[in-house]
């Protein structure tokens, strides 16, 4: 049996919808604060996977200079909106990577922060 071919047959296509972006930034200035960027609004910021905004932050928490910033769309968006967002965002913040956030058949394809 060709198991690779069998595996490929089981693929299931899903309805994909762009709903936001995770932007990873490097900064030495502590927990960043953001304005809204067009249709993108910051939902949370995490450091080493621990949510540091909004909510309680242990005064002992070890933070490094690398933050994940989740921006969710406040209206329907397209890929071009992400490009515009990054142009504006990059003028102030030094970002290292971006991950688009999609829903698949309506289910979130991204984890929440602890």
């Amino acid at each position: 049996m060709n198991f690779t071919a069998e595996a490929i047959k089981t693929r299931k296509k899903k309805d994909t919808k762009l709903v936001g972006v995770d932007v990873y930034i490097i900064t030495e200035e502590g927990i960043p604060q953001f304005k809204e960027f067009g249709p993108f609004k910051c939902e949370f910021i995490s450091n080493r996977g621990t949510k540091v905004w909004p909510g309680y932050v242990s005064p002992d928490l070890l933070m490094v200079n690398w933050y994940r910033c989740r921006f969710m769309a406040t209206k329907d968006i397209q890929d071009a909106d992400v490009t515009t967002f990054l142009e504006q965002f990059g003028q102030k913040w030094w970002w290292s990577a971006v991950q688009k956030l999609w829903t698949y058949d309506g289910e979130a394809g991204y984890s929440k922060a602890y």
Binding site: R11, K12, K13, K14, T16, D22, S46, R48, G49, T50, K51, Y56, S58, D60, L61, L62, V64, R68, Q99, L101, W102, Y104, G109, Y110, S111, K112, A113, Y114
Partner: protein, 339 residues
């Protein structure tokens, strides 16, 4: 005012009955403790709309020490782990999991006394996961220099103050050269501060094989989060199972003591399960609080009850209920203390 105020989090499933048994034993030791009971887990979702209520967070933040029963985490889907949330919120970066033979529990080895130091906040537990296409999932493995250095430094310091001789780093840096390589580099840097302690490293798969063939060769192990999670269960199996596997989650200003095992919901309310893992976690807690005399009394009494085999739980060949086993330990403590 009590000498110690400790947050007690009974948890879910068999947690409440285990914690009651453990409290009975610790209270009988005579240590002056006021227990503050707080909630965690699925029940809190209905009551408070969150797995980890603010009241619980505030109690731990105030008291700095907690004893916690097990909680339930669904596999694959559903809510986040309450345990991981707790460790993250308080930055409890050192998960200390001893694996030491209990003298009377049936096992294939004559000597095992391993101290595992599991980094508790990073690695694949950073909760950074994405479906990057409709058929590809990705999890970021986050390893940082300061996070790696401090767990190694913590382990060396613990080893030094507890008379341990060897500290080894467990990794897979031959494959994950950046992440595990960074973890090992930080370990080696921290090791320079402790020239009197023998150090080395071992690849995680080889470490597993060595542990089941010759566990006596290991003393202290320092591991990234995921390997630590897996290897400490392996070590628990070597010393009698999860019923005897304690743990401490330690940060710079706070510590939460809990068993390695889960909540065993199918046994909830039956008073059947062995509370020893939480009790040994409680003994670790008493030593953390510098209540060495009470810790030793409980430990010796527990060993004696296990040795007699008259009042032990089903997993070690007995028929005693959870609270009957605890009462037997309390009775033995009375005899040993000359009461």
């Amino acid at each position: 005012m009590a000498k110690h105020i400790i947050t007690m989090i009974p948890g879910e499933g068999t947690g409440p009955e285990i914690c009651e048994a453990v409290r009975m034993v610790i209270d009988a030791s005579g240590v002056d403790i006021k227990w503050e009971y707080e909630d965690i887990g699925l029940d809190c979702l209905d009551k408070h709309g969150t797995l980890l209520p603010d009241k619980t967070i505030q109690s731990i933040a105030k008291n700095k020490v907690a004893l916690k029963g097990p909680t339930t985490t669904p596999v694959g889907t559903g809510h986040k782990s309450a345990n991981v949330t707790l460790r993250k919120v308080f930055d409890l970066y050192a998960n200390v999991r001893p694996a030491k033979l209990i003298p009377v529990v049936k096992r294939p080895w004559d000597h095992i006394d391993i101290l595992n130091f599991r980094e508790n906040t990073e690695d694949c537990y950073a909760a950074i996961e994405h479906m990057v296409s409709d058929e590809v999932a990705q999890c970021l493995k986050v390893i940082t220099w300061p996070g790696s250095y401090r767990i190694a430094d913590f382990a060396f310091q613990w080893a030094k103050t507890h008379g341990r001789k060897k500290v080894f780093c467990v990794h897979k840096a031959n494959i994950m050269k950046m992440t595990d390589g960074l973890f090992m580099d930080a370990f080696k840097e921290a090791a320079k501060k402790y020239p009197d302690i023998e150090t080395g490293d071992v690849i995680v798969d080889n470490c597993c094989m060595q542990l089941v063939r010759n566990p006596a060769q290991f003393d202290c192990l320092v591991l990234p989060n995921l390997y630590g999670d897996i290897l400490t269960d392996l070590c628990a199996g070597l010393v009698g199972g999860l019923g005897f596997a304690p743990g401490a989650n330690v940060g710079d200003n706070c510590a939460i003591f809990e068993a390695v095992h889960g909540s065993a919901p199918k046994y909830a309310g039956l008073k059947k399960v062995n509370p020893s893992a939480v009790l040994i976690s409680g003994i670790m807690m008493l030593r953390w609080l510098k209540e060495e005399q009470a810790a030793n009394l409980i430990e010796k009494s527990m060993f004696a009850v296990l040795d007699e085999k008259k009042h032990v739980t089903y997993d070690v060949g007995g028929t005693a209920k959870t609270d009957e086993y605890a009462q037997a330990i309390v009775d033995k403590m009375g005899v040993m203390a000359g009461k």
